[in-house]
Symmetry: C2
Subunit: 163 residues, 2 copies
Amino acid sequence: METEQSSYLPVSQEQKALPKNDSYKNVPDKKIIRELGLKVTQQRLLILDIVRNGPNHFTAQEIYEVVTEKNPDVGFATVYRFLKKLSEQHFVTEVRMGGMPARYEWAAKKHHDHLTCTRCGSIVEFENQKIEDLQEQIADRHGFRLTHHILELYGLCGECQNQ
Amino acid sequence: METEQSSYLPVSQEQKALPKNDSYKNVPDKKIIRELGLKVTQQRLLILDIVRNGPNHFTAQEIYEVVTEKNPDVGFATVYRFLKKLSEQHFVTEVRMGGMPARYEWAAKKHHDHLTCTRCGSIVEFENQKIEDLQEQIADRHGFRLTHHILELYGLCGECQNQ
DNA sequence: GATGGTATTGAAAATCATTATTAATAGTAA
DNA sequence: TTACTATTAATAATGATTTTCAATACCATC
């Protein structure tokens, strides 16, 4: 059990932990953008709509592609900038693995973690309250106040185990 | 609970799960390199020595710097290439967060997870057998055979909670 | 111990996701 | 509507990681 100082500090500022449920389900996009302390723009409305109602486990690139189908004039950087804001405030969860582009998902809904097959890439979402509780206990024990976590299980799915 | 197909497939090949203990502690570097199916070279011996006995939670860059102190002729790419091999076979664990360079650590020792302060960057290592067991149960329930996992808790440490 | 085939290497260039820059534009408070 | 400022699109820049390729080092076999 050791504590050390890292030279690369994570770049998150606000540490408000979002509720781990779907209490944001009926909150309009505009309100969420204002809650982020940002101005409501057409671009952000469009991006947020797709983030909330589009495909799950998306990359910035994928969002960009869907966005430009509806409005070809939206830029790359705008998508990245807004996704970053959303993930800083934990409205979306960011997961990076290997050297792949980061994947995001709308987090202000029922919380869950992932079980990923490293062979075929299939993803199973699961939730386990016991693990959540244990995590809180561990944090308490070390004087931490949790804001979020990443739990990703990797292995072979049933199919891939039989080649 | 949904299953989906991802277009970006993880690039790991062998799926042998390493034992979650320090059973490799007394295995010589040479043997480990051969176990990876690689030739034993001076560069790999040097890198592996530092990975096993040097600082914990290191970046590729940090390893490179220590390596070149002892042998200035070792290249960047060699460090990256070898780290990748090691992490593909789960001899080192790779964790990426935010846009920061990936951090690695020697994994073939007692297993543990991390509790990280997002403000000051301090890291606490912990182990929790109950969580490990629950993870196995979850995998079983979905027909998966686990090879590894990432559990990273983020929050504010006691000090940072008081500004 | 020498030899030859092949994996490995260093150096530099290439890649690719992400971020910064900047002049132009759009949101919004008054 | 006006005026102020945040936001934007386009593009260049960044920075970590990977690839390329000719030169070299391993190591099984002689």
